[in-house]
Amino acid sequence: MIICLTFLTLGIFLALSNNIKFLTRSVSDDQVIVFFLSETSSMETVAAIQKEMEDSRLFSRIRLVNREEALAAFKTKFPDLESVLQNLNRNPFPSSLEATFSRDSLNTAAGRDLVERMRTREGISDIQYNREWIERMRTFDRLIRAVGFFLGGILIFASFFIISNVIKLNVLARKNEIAILRLVGATNWFIRIPFVMEGVFLGLLGGVLAVFLLWLVTALFPLYLGSSPGVIGELIQFRFLSVSQILALLVSGSLIGFLGSFSSLSKFLKI
């Protein structure tokens, strides 16, 4: 029972970290940096800049947005300001290169270097990226990681603790039996094997039960959240574990059972 609980918590942690990972990933996917091009720059300069950016391999997507597109985008984004634009005699928006940072380069030194280099580059009038947003995401990311590590650490610690304790209790409960077997002339392995097998079995059982319960939870969770699609709703939908994670959970269950019983035994049996 306790072991099952352990693996349930482990599984929940895994599933949560899955979701958090997914969430951070999709959030960092949105990290777009806009390089406004000066109006005078020629097509070649633009192509050169684009090439340089592509070569840096820091971006997953680079898109040239010309002046008309920029205007249209502004109009849809701020419909209230359409009257303002109508009063203009010309399109005030410069064309730009919209680049999306690839997943891992978001906060690297190379990324920041490139941005700084670009700032002074000929042909680029301005660089706009949501510094504050990125700052926030970085903090948030850090926080989530911290909470994740923290909870994860506690839970893994708890699992080991509980499992080793269960097996210790088991061994202690059978202390007499073990002593008798030794006095009757059993080898250490004769005594150990049933315990080890029991440990592995219990660990495995705990893992299986945990996976089942997790599956139940993830299946029932959307029902509870109910009718709230929305972007975030979709991002944070409770994802189930992948097959390899399930296997890992089961294997680690057996492994923890094995190691736990083994360490308890080696502590108790002395040899």
Binding site: N176, E177, V184, T187, N188, F190
Partner: protein, 221 residues
């Protein structure tokens, strides 16, 4: 051949439980150890099967200094001995059959062999009827007989029995003693702790008197 040389034993913070105990027991001998309560009989037996280590002294059994056997080879010594513990030490979650069979299972013996030998041993102590009971459902004397059956089932070279008839009526006690004698006549060394004078009078070949941890005298009848 069991040889004890100047065995001293002190439990932490106590008087000497054994002081300077030396004696020899020849192979095939039938020895009683007797003495009042607390005189060190059980302590002496425990040292013989190495549940305890003596504070001082040496023990040689069949040319082998048993105090030098490493812990992970102890099972060899124990397998050569059949031990009846004063407090029985039965496996309380296993049936009487399993309790006796365990002495064979540890040798890696298989199904049918075990069954016949366990059945024979239980018959010798008149317990074949209770074969499938749990020890907790037996009377005290019956539990004692299970312990005896376990000690003799694997034909050990040495039998050590600590007060094996303390909970048995005189008729059964005599039966059990006759059983030990029979086994002894086939060449097994038998050492029995008891305070029952009647039994000693009847079966005693060689008797060791202990008193406050000292060998008072050794009689050879």
């Amino acid at each position: 051949m069991i040889e004890l040389y100047h065995i001293w034993k002190k439990y932490q913070g106590n008087d000497w439980a054994l002081s300077d105990v030396s004696f020899f027991i020849n192979p095939g001998e039938f020895t009683f150890i007797t003495g009042p309560s607390g005189s060190g009989k059980s302590t002496l037996l425990k040292i013989l099967y190495r549940e305890l280590l003596p504070t001082e002294g040496q023990i040689v059994i069949d040319q082998r200094n048993i105090l030098k056997i490493p812990d992970n080879k102890l099972y060899e010594l124990r397998r050569s001995m059949g031990i009846v513990f004063q407090d029985f030490r039965l496996l309380f979650h296993k049936s009487v059959f399993e309790n006796v069979a365990v002495a064979l299972r540890i040798l890696g013996m298989t199904g049918k062999d075990i069954r016949t030998r366990v059945f024979n041993a239980l018959r010798m102590v008149s317990l074949q009827k209770k074969m499938w009971e749990l020890p907790s459902r037996l009377s005290y004397g019956e539990q004692q007989r299970v312990a005896i059956a376990r000690a003799i089932v694997n034909n050990p070279k040495i039998i050590l029995a600590d007060e094996p008839t303390g909970n048995l009526d005189i008729k059964l006690a005599f039966e059990i003693m006759s059983l030990f004698q029979e086994i002894n006549e086939k060449g097994t060394t038998v050492i029995i702790c008891t305070h029952d004078r009647e039994l000693i009078r009847y079966f005693g070949h060689s008797i060791l008197f202990l008193f406050k941890g000292r060998v008072l005298r050794k009689e050879q009848l």
